[in-house]
Symmetry: C2
Subunit: 319 residues, 2 copies
DNA sequence: CCGCTTATTTTCAGCCTGAGTACAAGCGGA
DNA sequence: TCCGCTTGTACTCAGGCTGAAAATAAGCGG
């Protein structure tokens, strides 16, 4: 469409390529006694972020700098989440947001800097199924989603909306899928059921919207991080980034459950962990928390070197 | 480190955030009779790419525009791969590259524009295991990698390098893992065994380097795309983006084999496809290609709506 | 020693997977 | 025509993994 620059190579087209600003933004996750949480700023309403600057050696190091400056926390494990544009399309200059997921232990409360952890399930109350399906789904979300579906122009769209809602939220006998966290938030946004979708507009009739909102699209980015993490713990040993150096198997299980937002069968969890040889005994046992003392384990860092990529879904032939 | 801007929010720090240029770059994959291939420009030495400009409505639409202008091909399925910086660090201005994976059918040879498909396995001759392990691994890569390992400063590093090479390339009785395409390229780069690693430098003794090189880091991005696709076909029905509207099960199998670079057990492949109800019969049979006529199938687009997210690795408890 | 709590091990049936074998259907040449 | 070749399709079977539940072990307090 439009001109046809023959010079193929980028930035040699003769056009003046428009410069953009690049923002780095972090979802820093941890798990403590009260559950999974995320590192925030501005009264838990924003994720730590800042512009990518000349001084930064790389995108990741820029991110580390910003998070450290804003929260006093230094990051360990980092992985890229997604790169967005088309936000804040104010004026001529555009902003690109490069988002990251970081995992950390919440410890190190040494810093003098303010550090604010927000609970995942304050932002997404419908995501915690550890004590069964949260009432908010049946009592608030389901009716609202049905309203939204009914507001569709034609029948096809209405059925389509109902189906999407049912799949995302496990309605109508469908199974809950904890990995769909992002799709759920986006659906609620589209349906105008989260505050971010309606603010900056004439506030419609929608009164109580579930879940604590965040600045700009930060809650969406958080949902992206949660979805990614929930999916990743299933095929890579990343949970250990969130664990103290020594832990019991039940602690490990509780951490995974906190992230996944659902419960796990205890013997099966142990079997899985042990058969993959992810941990080794320290030889010591925990200072009893009530019943029989539990063995303490540590992560076998060696597994990271074992090309322990599991998981195939295709019937590949053996050599 | 350094200053401690108290104003938390991005772009309010008082610092002048440096602008950057954003490049969009595409790995456009297709499969034809001769195997899996990628859309290229500049004599198959570069991927289509171009700067993100003001005129573009979004990152994706910018990418579509560039690919269409440079190759005459319009894209269907697109997903983001990765965002890099720290390349082309010439002068003060920095470039961010946002890479995408696109899937397409090679058809539509209508365009007057030049369109150039490069075969995956010309760039990565060691990745095609459909006829057994390629000789290049034993005859060229293995010796070179061992040389590289032996060049290590200390024994620990040497063993580490040997292990990494063995895991990546399935040496020493280890199983080949087709999903490690990116790690393999990066390992070869680190070992100086691909041309990109040694060019622009005093050419060392390394003479024949395996695989056709590409401009800048395009071959690395291609490897990223291949790895992503090889992994994704295992849990999402994306293969169909590469298939004609109607096909036989063997054609489908051959396509998957081409992508994965390895063979699949025929009855098991059929069973998997059918039990997931990914396809439906058209009622017709193929114009015989030698043996018994094969039933023709088409993709059941409905599955995309069925929340067909498979795959869990955690023993989650049923409600 | 009993009852309570939590930890750890075993067992078992069902499903999925890799692998092999058998059978069906069209074609071409002897 | 029959045979052999090729490709497509169906069936079988053993092993491994998974979800679920039951059984056993170890500490604590009365």
């Amino acid at each position: 469409m439009g001109e046809q620059p023959k010079g193929i190579k980028k930035s040699k087209t003769g056009r003046k390529a428009s410069d953009v600003k690049a923002d780095l933004i972090a979802v820093v996750a941890a798990v403590n006694n009260s559950g999974p949480c995320v590192l925030t700023v501005e009264q838990e309403a924003a994720l730590p972020s800042g512009p990518f600057e000349l001084a930064h050696r790389s995108l990741q190091s820029g991110l580390r700098d910003w998070v450290e400056q804003q929260t006093g926390h230094s990051l360990g494990y980092i992985e890229q989440l997604y790169t967005f544009a088309d936000r804040d399309r104010i004026g001529a200059e555009r902003v690109i947001s490069i988002s990251y997921l970081a995992l950390t232990r919440e410890e190190e409360v040494t810093g003098a800097t303010r550090r604010c952890w927000g609970s995942w399930y304050d932002y997404f109350p419908w995501e915690d199924h550890r004590s069964g399906t949260p009432p908010i789904i049946r009592e608030v979300l389901r009716p609202r989603l049905m309203e939204w579906a009914d507001g569709a122009a034609d029948t096809a769209t209405r059925l389509e909306r109902q189906r999407r809602a049912a799949v995302a939220f496990g309605l109508d006998e469908r199974a809950w899928n904890e990995e769909l966290a992002l799709q759920r938030y986006e659906l609620l946004f589209e349906a105008g059921i989260v505050e971010e979708a309606t603010r900056d507009r004439r506030s419609t009739e929608l009164a109580s919207v579930p879940g604590r909102p965040m600045v700009a699209d930060h809650r969406r980015i958080l949902a992206t991080g949660i979805a990614r993490l929930r999916s990743k713990i299933k095929y890579r040993p990343v949970v250990f980034e969130l664990m103290p150096p020594v832990f019991t198997l039940l602690q490990l299980q509780r951490t995974v459950e906190a992230l996944a937002g659902r419960l796990i069968n205890k013997p099966n969890f142990r079997r899985l962990i042990e058969q993959q040889e992810l941990v080794e005994e320290t030889g010591e046992t925990s200072v009893d928390t009530g019943g029989r003392p539990a063995k303490l384990y540590r992560f076998r860092h060696a597994v990271l070197n074992e090309g322990a990529m599991a998981g195939t879904k295709l019937p590949l032939a053996r050599p």
